[in-house]
Chain length 206, copies 2
Amino acid sequence: MGGVTTQDRADRAERVPKQDRSRVTRQRLLQSAVDCLAEHGWAGSTVSVVAERAGVTRGAAQHHFPTREDLFTAAVEYVAEERCTALRALFPQGAAGDRHAVVAALVDLYTGPLFRAALHLWVAASDEDQLRPRVTELEARVGRETHRTAVELLGADESRPGTRETVQGFLDMARGLGLATLLTDDTARRERVVTQWAALLEQALG
Amino acid sequence: MGGVTTQDRADRAERVPKQDRSRVTRQRLLQSAVDCLAEHGWAGSTVSVVAERAGVTRGAAQHHFPTREDLFTAAVEYVAEERCTALRALFPQGAAGDRHAVVAALVDLYTGPLFRAALHLWVAASDEDQLRPRVTELEARVGRETHRTAVELLGADESRPGTRETVQGFLDMARGLGLATLLTDDTARRERVVTQWAALLEQALG
């Protein structure tokens, strides 16, 4: 939120109806929560830290998200939905366009701050009883939505035996590639793997 | 260490030469460190906790591993090497045997406590400057060794263009499948994906 001053915000607030302002605040909190989780991990991510980052009072943040779990699970879901929507918009023709580009874009879902944030949340949930059921549900919902998007954009015919598992395995590969970018810049290797597997998927999906 | 009493240990200690005892202590610490990391994550894993778990004094543990970073990086490397060695022993004929079984066994490398421990270490390293270079080196070494093992057991001919990337992408998929077991029992889905991808690899590797 670098160059935005309090005066700017006040000016903007006057022009925007109350309901829209509430929606904007909510979105700003969600995006800040993902960025915070990606940068500082679960231990360093609280409602207060995110509120400050988003330029919102702690009270306003808690009005939208009563608990820490509410805020961070909603944030990962919101940003994941945004990314899927953006991806569909990028390939309005789906597989009728360039399948290699679709494969590369699907892999890119797992190489940015969103995946890093989700990974921190998953690992924390594996140790924390309070967080686990929330994140398990979230993972299932986001996983289904990503699978649907992948099937559509790849033009995969799931009535053909094995196609569902081909797409699932490819998305597992994409998650594994995301994991490989956690500590080092894995771009060059990843691009070679994506090129090879785009060709293999082309054969497998027909 | 359930049923082992102090007297048992003393009896055993008398029969075992000092050097061997030191090696046994070291191995016990390394295995306990991986189990501890898998169960309690990085935040809950210290030299003291591992020493107690292994039935070793804190002083003895620190004699073998002066720092927390030393202990846990050595532990993940040791257990990863053990798993690779066990895998090679399981398939003395490599790809001359059953390639589907080899694929399933390679995926299994990523579904147990070792992968869970490694994942905790990677995620912690992404936030901690002191840990990051150690874990980055470790990941590179273990990754190379696993790749070598996979190439050998799959009977993959890396002189053929694309084969290297085919195997790499498959191992990325295996890591992604490991990630999917973090919060829920993903066995049934994983087995279907492995069956399908074993068939795709069969075609791709020839």
